[in-house]
Amino acid sequence: MSSASPSRSGDSVTEKGATKAADKVLLIGSPNCGKTLLFNRLTGLQHRVANFPGITVEIASGSLVGHPGVTLYDYPGTYSLQAISGEEQVAVEQFQSALADPELGLVLCLIDVTRLEKSLYFALQVVRECKRAGKPLLVLANMIDILEQHRIPMDLDGLAADLGAPVLGISARNGAGLEVMDTRVREVLGAQPPAPGDSGDPDLLLRGTAHQLAHKYGPKGDVLLRTQNRLDAFFLHTAFGGVAFFLVMYLLFQSIFTWAAPAMDAVEGALGWLSDLVVPVLGPKLLQDFAADALFSGIGAFLVFVPQIFVLTFVIGLLEDSGYMARAALICHRPLRFFGLTGKSFIPMLSGVACAIPGIYAARAVESPRKRFLTYLAIPLMPCSARLPVYTLLIAAFIPSTTAFGGLVGLQGLAMFLVYLFGMICGLLVTAFVSRAGSLEESDLPFVLEMPAYRLPALRPLLRKSWQRCKLFITKAGAIIVTVTMVIWFLGYFPNFGADLGASWLGQLGAFIEPVFAPLGLDWRYGVAIISSFLAREVFVGTLGVMFGIEGAEENMVPLVEQIQGSDLGLASGIALLVFFAVALMCVSTLAVLSREAGSARLAVRMFAIYVAMAYLLSLLAYQIALFFGA
């Protein structure tokens, strides 16, 4: 349990024996009822988020503005306290244990008055549980401004009487009603809590009651849905919707690939400048080499991803908050379902084409634990940008630059397209196989997706959320990446203090495992380059350059291409290497993030081992087939 939870092992009695005032307020509500917007408003955007490893359940906490010493907790939204997935169960258990916390002074239950039916059942359950626990409750009827805008009356007093709890009309969007809420919160926190009550109605009865109350008090007519329907008719239209989807996904892809690039270059530049400044004054060569090649390289290896994670989190937040994400998931669902995935898997997989790391973070949007697990399996097989230098080198070295159809189709371009396609197909086949073959432990959810209203996203909370995601990446995944970088530097530097990579422990390891790569027609130099590419796939090019005695192969590949072409390495080995890199999960940063997000180091290790084994077997098969055809 995170320290951000109100159900930590606190006690209402202090060490001196004095009774401690209840200073915790809990905010809860069903999904898409504006809870996060209200939380941001009530805490002035100053909050922190506690994650539960392996699941997307988050509990944010922050000081309640205007109430010194009072902390507001934003609990995960669910449609019901009767969980149907493992993650919902965690959220419900957290709520139940929070109710048992003596320091909890008030529960704020948010409902969406424009969509009462889906909010009221959950609200009735919360009313019942608060009465059982003897906790004061305030029901906040959000989006009252929308009803006023359409001149739709609502009998909040009648609703309060039927719910058995006070109801206040508010607007999280424009702040209406929050002053009254503030006064009520002050009154409740200063008063004696109610005594715990009886067990209340069972869920079955509450479902019927919610249905009746929604009919009695809910807005009539379709005025509230008119705009949404018009926009849906466009965004879900076979032709227009397809074009809009393509444009949105193109912008998303551009944002990760192009918009984040200047910031990534700036991070690299700043680290290079700092390294140039610090390293020369460090004294002993060992220390200088360590700082330059292990410390700064290790830090750079993960800091360079921060701009991408920031941009992607921000853009995905825009899509979610605007309401488009649900529509995009709907459009992609059918084809992905065949492979065991869901429509919401598309964006993480598309992000994975730029880089697996933001893709894995984006998989949080997939609610079904089972589908999210399958999405994790697919992402590392998407052809990420780090593979590009490796593909470029190998294609330039082995594929002739001839063209066909009057120059329209280049053989090298075709090879690049095929190797990209190969990775994607492998990803989809793996998920199709795993979803059908194994009995997965992860629980599933049906495709029942609420279509939220289209809204203009609030930018400040999104910027803050993006930064928090980056901080999480830096603090959690960064340490693992730096550690592994240092280990590989250590192996490559000793025992001859960096004089000869071939004679280092890493080189000896390459020679030791040469028999493993020999069936692919590769010698030990390629073995060393493959091992070092565990840091990041593109390191393969630089290391191979060093092995061939070429400096700066990352910037100028031509001499290295010529060296490879001049060696006795054949086309079959080149194809085998391409296949190997398309499948192997050779990226410590991806594994670190996967381990963190999936909450399982075991999963990351197993995926690494299985994908490397699969890469090896497929490349061996490709090598043999290529030899058979005379390559």
Binding site: S80, T114, E117, K118, G218, Q228, D232, A326, I331
Partner: protein
């Protein structure tokens, strides 16, 4: 006569008659929690091409349902909107 919810065309409405036993009970309960009660009117707002999930309105809320779910809801067709 009842038909499955999935067979409703865009613009058609129906009254929920019940659920197939084949639908997992937990999912059935969740659908009822969301408003898909027997006796409730539900209308098909959008039916995108190529078998994509369809958009249904129940009360004042819209949901997208896959055919895996929608074909287990039985409805009585009431009108063309």
């Amino acid at each position: 006569m009842t038909v499955s919810l999935w067979t409703l065309a865009r613009g058609q409405a129906g009254v929920i008659d019940g659920y197939d036993d084949a639908l997992d009970e937990a999912y059935r309960i969740r659908l009822m929690e969301l408003g898909f009660h027997p006796g409730e009117q539900v209308s098909c707002l959008q039916a995108p091409a190529l078998g994509a999930p369809r958009v249904y309105r129940v009360a004042n809320t819209t949901f997208s349902l896959d055919d895996d779910v929608a074909r287990h809801l039985r409805v009585r067709v009431v009108t063309d909107e």
